[in-house]
Symmetry: C2
Subunit: 533 residues, 2 copies
């Protein structure tokens, strides 16, 4: 087995492919990290991976849930035709934080500009910068650029639109193919968040210089991991960005900021709120699955009952598949269809006609009624994004271990120790679990930022399990928490639709009004600053 196969398998087992944030098709859960304890002895085994990808659920997670949806919507959006966008490449420094001979190497970083609505440098018109997260900026098409809150509102602000791709994703991979970059232990060492926001600082500084837009206020925006980047960018580079809109950014997710991983508790609460009986059915299903699995021919029975496309190799494979569906449903529990409600309605409806396994299966079917069978192994996405984010998780983006509260899922017994061992096995180096909180903070954020910093919106939807690691209380007059009770992951920053519920329309309106307020205050400051200069 060569390096590629080995790392790929290990990652599957660690479920690293499944645990990213990202604006759109991001996923969740480190539950399966508990599997890490098994890794050393089972490197080449077919140990099932754990968390299903969004893709698995087909189109059910709907508008607002994914890049793909946004793209599809955008392709029919005549307001922002493709030719408003120009693609550029910036000569980016590989390592901003050292002066080794190697650090001077540069690579090509992709960014996109739409100046159609820009009021120009003379007016000091704003610049909206979308900070790329764990994904290609777009797949060879500018359609992605067309959706999104700030993009749609560029005319109101006369804003220049800039989209910058995150290093090592899309076309912004240094020097070699992504596959070669990620297996080069030295090169992938520079694939991290501090370098990424330093990239953004360099590109934006360059553009302000290029356009003589020295006094144009810059607003950075991002969702999920990108929302953390936006937060951190405003905090680390206040001289470059005036403010940040951080959507569904679990900035408190990292080891040391919060004692527990509340993700599972929110998933459970979402289901309990939709239906108590549904919650209890799910909660009781795991022991039932385990019981059946332990019987002679049990796995075969389970395969049959859940119409798996191929026989399952163990009960974990099935439980991971099912729990992944529930977690995705919670994270992307978006209007108009609200997947959690759909699943619970199906489960509850089946309660009189079938046993507990039949009810759970009815919930699974609700996510895709047209499928003839369910591929419990297809919940693993592959490609640059998942491979890249697997590395980011194993280096610095280390979440908390341990849970609390009443969960309907099987409890996560993973520990930092077995997670670390898995990472060492995969990459040769351990994660640095405390670095994110040392460099960016997080712990006691309400105390720290009460009198420090300004102009950050932390937007969340409380149905999103990541909202538990987000900022949900206003910290100061200008560091605000804007959340909705029924919103889901990144819902506010994807494109608007005529059918959006009023609370979503209001959340977006408030965010835009706040940003407008920042810009107005800045213009007043600028005017008095220039007078006294």
């Amino acid at each position: 087995m060569d390096w590629d196969d080995s790392i790929s398998l290990q990652r599957k087992e660690m479920n690293l492919d499944k645990y990213w944030f990202g604006v759109c098709h991001e996923l969740s859960n480190n539950k399966l990290v508990s599997l890490l304890s098994l890794i050393s002895s089972t490197i080449v085994s077919a140990k099932p991976y754990n968390i299903p990808s969004l893709g698995l659920s087909g189109g059910i997670f709907l508008k607002g849930g994914g890049t793909k949806t946004t793209k599809a919507a955008a392709q029919t959006n005549a307001e922002t035709p493709k030719n408003d966008y120009e693609i550029f490449f910036y000569n980016q420094t590989l390592d901003h934080f050292s002066y080794t001979p190697e650090s001077y190497t540069t690579f090509q970083q992709r960014y996109v500009i739409n100046s159609k609505h820009w009021g120009g440098a003379k007016e000091n018109a704003p610049i909206f910068v979308y900070l790329g997260a764990e994904d290609s900026l777009f797949d060879g098409d500018v359609a992605d650029m067309s959706g999104g809150l700030l993009t749609e509102n560029a005319p109101r602000f006369k804003a220049l639109l800039v989209y910058i791709e995150h290093r090592f994703y899309g076309k912004s991979v240094p020097f070699v193919s992504f596959q070669n970059a990620i297996k080069n232990a030295t090169l992938r060492g520079y694939f991290n968040s501090a370098q990424a926001i330093a990239d953004y600082a360099s590109v934006i500084t360059y553009l302000k210089e290029k356009f003589s837009a020295h006094y144009s206020p810059v607003i950075v925006i991002g969702g999920s991991y990108g929302g953390m980047l936006a937060t951190w960018f405003r905090l680390k580079y206040p001289h470059i960005a005036l403010g940040a809109l951080a959507s569904s950014a679990p900035v408190l997710f990292f080891h040391g900021a919060l004692p527990y991983n509340e993700y599972y508790a929110v998933v459970s609460k979402d289901f309990k709120q939709a239906s108590k009986s549904c919650f209890h059915t799910i909660k009781n299903s795991w022991s039932e699955i385990n019981k059946v699995a332990s019987q002679p021919n049990g796995l075969s029975i389970l395969s049959q009952r859940f119409k798996t496309c191929s026989p399952i190799n163990g009960s974990e494979e099935l439980k991971d598949f099912i729990s992944g569906i529930f977690m995705d449903a919670a994270q992307y529990n978006s209007p108009p269809k609200y997947p959690v409600t759909m699943i619970c309605r199906a489960i509850d409806r089946a309660s009189n006609t079938t046993d507990i396994l039949g009810r759970i299966f009815a919930g699974v079917v609700a996510t895709n009624k047209t499928k003839e069978c369910f591929d419990t192994r297809q919940n693993l996405t592959s490609g640059t994004e998942s491979d890249g984010y697997a590395w980011q998780r194993c280096s610095e983006l280390v979440g908390p271990f341990g849970e609390r509260g009443d969960t309907m899922l099987e409890r996560d017994n993973s520990t930092l120790s077995n997670f670390t061992n898995g990472c060492i096995n995969s990459y040769g180096v351990p994660p640095r679990p405390h670095w994110i909180t040392t460099y960016f903070g997080g712990k006691d954020i309400g105390l720290v930022l009460r009198r420090f910093g300004s102009n950050i919106i932390f937007s969340n939807g409380l149905k999103d399990p990541y909202s538990a690691s987000g900022v949900l209380k206003d910290i100061s007059d200008t560091i605000l928490a804007i959340h909705t009770v029924n919103g889901s992951h990144c819902l506010d920053i994807v494109g608007a639709s005529p059918n959006d519920p009023i609370w979503l329309v209001e959340q977006r309106k408030r965010e835009l009004d706040v940003i407008e307020g920042w810009i107005k205050t800045y213009y007043a400051d600028l005017s008095s600053f220039k007078k006294t200069k």
Copy 2:
């Protein structure tokens, strides 16, 4: 000639040894960077270096001017006996900003703790952290720790005192001897300010954990380059430090923050304010020196007239020596002796009895009346500190080029281009002149920080030529400029003396009162934060 000799010679010619900040024996001037244009062709020549070191002027630059003075004072200070200090070494990460296998290497970083006055973690008593700059923390003796504003006032605040050594200085050199570290192109790449403050973040985080002092407010302090580090630390790590006292920190010195290097203008103003005739004598002396030098036997005449210990090799050698004395006098123009006044008094008194060269010589003699001859080549310090700072200047700490205003010194014609060439010749890599302002900001600091950040004191003495690159206006209610008209470089943070002028006593008092206010506000915030948590 081996690498050591080559680099050493080039550095001499570039005057890199002479241009650092640092709390105490720091020096100034990039005037001599103009020599860089000559470097390529004169690597092994004996081209004179340009700016005299403070050491050359012996004890004349007085109390408040240097480590040596502080140390001497401290050695007789019975209030803080040596055994209150404990020396530790922290296992520090070489590269905080990458995850390459090499980055995980650790080195031993030295720090010192004095807990004599500390109120303890239960009281959330404060922690004062002195951020080491371009120097050894001390020379095998804890005496250095005894002086200084926060050290002397630890009892008032019941503060824990922590002193952390800057990487690559003193005993905090990674792995090998300094001489071997600085000539290793890869290793020295990690010798920079971003890594240094990340080191401080790691050590302080570790200590707060170790002492369970999670809610003890941390105040960082530093002078000159150390003052910049303190400023940047508060801005980048607000979750670790509550506030910063940045003494004589030329945070606007870097390329892009201010258009001109105002250093020379302030030196000239200091002399003009002391005596107009003195100013004009100095201003006119350079052409006179040039005239004599161009005569047959002219250099010999100059050597004789200025009692140089050995014959000078050119007029530049002499002019550098003299202008270095004047610049040092301005930077360290401290009470009670005020070197600028001493020099000008001597120059003016000689006006009736001798020619212009004689008057200048009288000014030189005033700085050290006991010397039998003046060594125009001894103005080059050597050793770890100067070698280290030379590299820092050639990598990131790149000042502005070009001057304006009425200067009594010969105008500096150096450019970024010849400076860059010199650095490439010396180190194989060019400086990144824009990185400091990209990473830390600087330009329009009053606009940027007006509504961002808090709790920074920028203290300055306006006689200090570096004050022109400092913050001299209050930016907000908590980002304050506290300066004195007659103060000099770092004067406020060195140890107090019974003979200190009232304005200096008042400056220090105000600084301490402001810090006390930050801490009180923090305790109130902490109390309400804990209630709502």
